[in-house]
């Protein structure tokens, strides 16, 4: 019993990282991935919040170039931000071990889209592992590092909300490693400098690695066949396995744990054994299309099951070949800004002034709900500022002068700074007004620190990047800091004044998040 633990998938990845001797963990918070790095730091791993996912991945790649094991964590949309290094790191490969976690959010419990990042593994030609519970989250992380080191290639650990946040029993089978000692950078210009003349042969080498990996995957530890009692075979992966197993316990099952590159011979021989062979997968028909394209005849699911999460009921329907419209569960209470939340006064002012408000992502996105209904757009992190600029450029003057962008402090550091640069470089004729809602934390995802909060992942002091200094250095004409605890009434006056001026203005509305104040009191 002693080596068994009840862990969430996220905790399991963190524990595995520690046990596998990971030298550095980097990432940017994002539901459902956040707790991986938090837990890794708590149990003694060296972990750090990066300003954004691109930085996190590049730092992780650097560590893995130096023969270390590194883990990089993010939510699915974070991999869009990190896509640039992701694609080319497949070409350079790594000398140590690099596991990149993409935590997808089918059903969008806390996200702006439900993109299926399995496509990104295939597009970047990076091997992908998909655990189906916390045990596999643990095992696949450990094996992922071995795979990465053996083939000198980054590995994508693709999780989903239910894997990340469900707690299941984990048995630790390996002895904790003491970490790595022969860390060094070996000069290899052709392998590491992706100028076109080096990148062309690198792509060819990558194709060869993928071909070898596909062969390896035919008999790999990651895929399991379970014999059935009936003439139905199910091909599945990740959380869908659990639903399939429960919905049709008598079916034969091919559970794929390594879903890029796929083991087509294994799939072909499995499919050939059953009268009916059906693919049960959450999200896009990634497995279905790949398997069909390989000339293996299988059954898929109706398009409505592409949306949202799967569950036992939906999988029963897929197995029964039904596509009847689904009952919509009653709506719960939406979350609300906490009593005393510093964002409230800002939205009251924006509503009163009748502003057009391109917004961004964070707790303050709730400003779009009643009673405020004062945030008009949400696209992706950082876009609050830049969508505002687009509107300022094309709207007639009197409408343009009502446009105010809002963005949180963590989001500003993540991807708002380049928007400010554009604001002064390609200055709209009416200038622009940006409000930075500085509550000194990344509240939305559970109160993580960031460079602007001046504390590290364990809440210890670190260098603080000052938002007002950045804004001034970029050349913003007016930089105001409003103390929302002492003078909340100031905010409406300042917004009104700056809106009338045709200047570039940044207003920093500053007051700590009430929950973070409580958290700090506890620490």
């Amino acid at each position: 019993m002693t080596n068994k633990f009840l862990l969430s998938g996220n905790e399991a990845v963190a524990e595995a990282s520690l046990d596998a001797g990971v030298s550095l963990g980097t990432g940017y918070p994002g539901t459902p991935s956040t707790e991986i790095l938090e837990h890794f730091a708590e149990i003694g791993g060296k972990a750090q919040w990066s300003p954004n996912e691109k930085v996190a991945l590049e730092v992780g790649v650097g560590a893995a170039y130096g023969k270390a094991r590194a883990i990089v964590t993010m939510k699915h949309v974070g991999l869009n931000v990190a896509a640039d290094p992701f694609f080319t790191a497949a070409y350079t490969g790594v000398d140590g071990g690099l596991v990149i976690v993409s935590a997808d959010d089918p059903g969008m419990s806390s996200s702006q889209n439900e993109q299926d990042n399995r496509h990104l593994a295939e597009a970047a030609e990076i091997p992908m592992l998909e655990p189906s519970d916390s045990q596999e989250a643990y095992d696949f992380t450990v094996k992922g590092f071995e795979l990465s080191e053996k083939w000198k290639i980054p590995v994508l650990l693709r999780m989903t909300t239910r894997i990340c946040h469900s707690k299941t029993i984990v048995e630790k089978k390996i002895r904790p490693s003491k970490g790595y000692s022969n860390l060094k950078f070996v000069k290899d210009l052709r392998g590491k400098v992706m100028i076109p003349s080096n990148a062309r042969p690198a792509h060819l080498r990558l194709r060869e690695k993928i071909a070898e990996l596909a062969e390896f995957n035919e008999e790999s530890f990651f895929n399991k066949v379970e014999k059935g009692l009936i003439d139905t075979g199910i091909i599945t992966s990740g959380i869908s396995y659990q639903y399939a197993k429960e919905a049709e316990p008598d079916a034969g099952i091919l559970k794929l744990g390594m879903t890029y590159p796929l083991p087509f011979d294994k799939i072909r021989s499995f499919a050939g054994k059953y009268k009916r062979c059906i693919v049960i997968e959450e999200g896009d028909p990634y497995l279905f299309k790949s398997i069909m394209a390989a000339g293996i005849e299988v059954e898929g699911k109706h398009d409505i099951f592409r949306l949202g999460e799967l569950n036992l009921k939906r999988v029963r329907k897929i197995l029964a070949g039904e596509n009847t419209s689904e009952e919509i569960p009653p709506c719960g209470k939406a979350p609300q800004l906490c009593p005393g939340c510093p964002h409230k006064t800002v939205y009251e002012a924006l509503k009163k002034l009748g502003c057009t408000v391109p917004g961004d992502i964070g707790c303050y996105s709730l400003g779009t709900l009643p009673p405020y209904e004062a945030m008009d757009t949400l696209l992706c992190m950082g876009a609050g500022i830049t969508v505002g600029l687009g509107l300022r450029h094309i709207l007639p003057e009197e409408k343009a002068m009502k446009v105010v962008s809002v963005i949180g402090d963590s989001t500003f550091i993540h991807s708002g700074i380049t928007g400010l640069v554009d604001m002064v470089y390609n200055r709209p004729p009416t200038g622009h007004v940006v409000i930075i809602l500085d509550n000194n934390t990344t509240a939305m995802t559970g109160l993580q620190e960031h460079p602007g909060s001046g504390r590290d992942i364990m809440h210890n002091p670190s260098h603080q990047v000052k938002i007002e200094d950045i804004s001034r250095a970029i050349g913003i004409e007016n930089v105001d800091v409003v103390d929302m605890l002492k003078n909340p009434e100031e905010i409406e006056k300042i917004i009104t004044k700056r809106l009338s001026e045709k200047k570039t203005s940044v207003i920093i509305a500053r007051r700590p998040c009430v929950l973070s104040v409580k958290l700090k009191a506890k620490i």
């Binding site: 707690k167 979350p335 995802t445």
Partner: protein, 156 residues
């Protein structure tokens, strides 16, 4: 697989729904069951609906309780009963604050453990596993109070 016990705990963010399901799953785990527990978290803000699913048996597959298949539905906020009762199976047991004597719990914050106490009398997890789980998962200074609330709920 029909012996799986399906429990949903529901309430409002900040009430201790997740803590309650942590205690329940830890107790089932140390009692030797296979356990799976699932919920969606991430949003810091308060006041939104929260549910957490716990399933235990000799072997459990899906971590979520399918709607209409919960054996027990424990609801911490009375206004959350209506939107969650579709989760309960026919003949399933609803447990709410009405099942305990609110005037007797040591502190309103212990409502979650008091309701776990009420639930505990219907499921076969030994008392010692419950106590251990409470001691492990709650801060030391509040454990006595919570164990008192638990026992109070259990007696009702």
């Amino acid at each position: 697989m029909n012996d799986t016990i399906n429990i949903v705990i529901a309430g409002i963010g900040g009430q201790g729904v997740i803590k309650a399901s942590d205690i329940l799953s830890e107790a089932a785990f140390t009692a030797g069951y296979d356990v799976k527990k699932s919920e969606i978290h991430g949003m810091s803000q308060r006041g939104g609906s929260v549910t957490s699913d716990v399933r235990f048996a000799k072997k459990v597959f899906s971590p979520t309780v399918p709607p209409g298949e919960a054996d027990f539905l424990v609801v911490l906020a009375d206004d959350q009963v209506e939107i969650n009762c579709h989760l309960l199976k026919k003949g399933g047991k609803l447990i709410t604050s009405k099942d305990i004597d609110l005037s007797k719990i040591p502190n309103p914050k212990t409502l979650n453990t008091a309701l776990l106490g009420a639930l505990s009398s219907f499921i076969g997890i030994p008392l010692k596993n419950w106590e251990e789980a409470i001691r492990k998962l709650l801060p030391p200074k509040s454990t006595d109070m919570n164990i008192e609330a638990f026992n109070m709920g259990r007696k009702q």
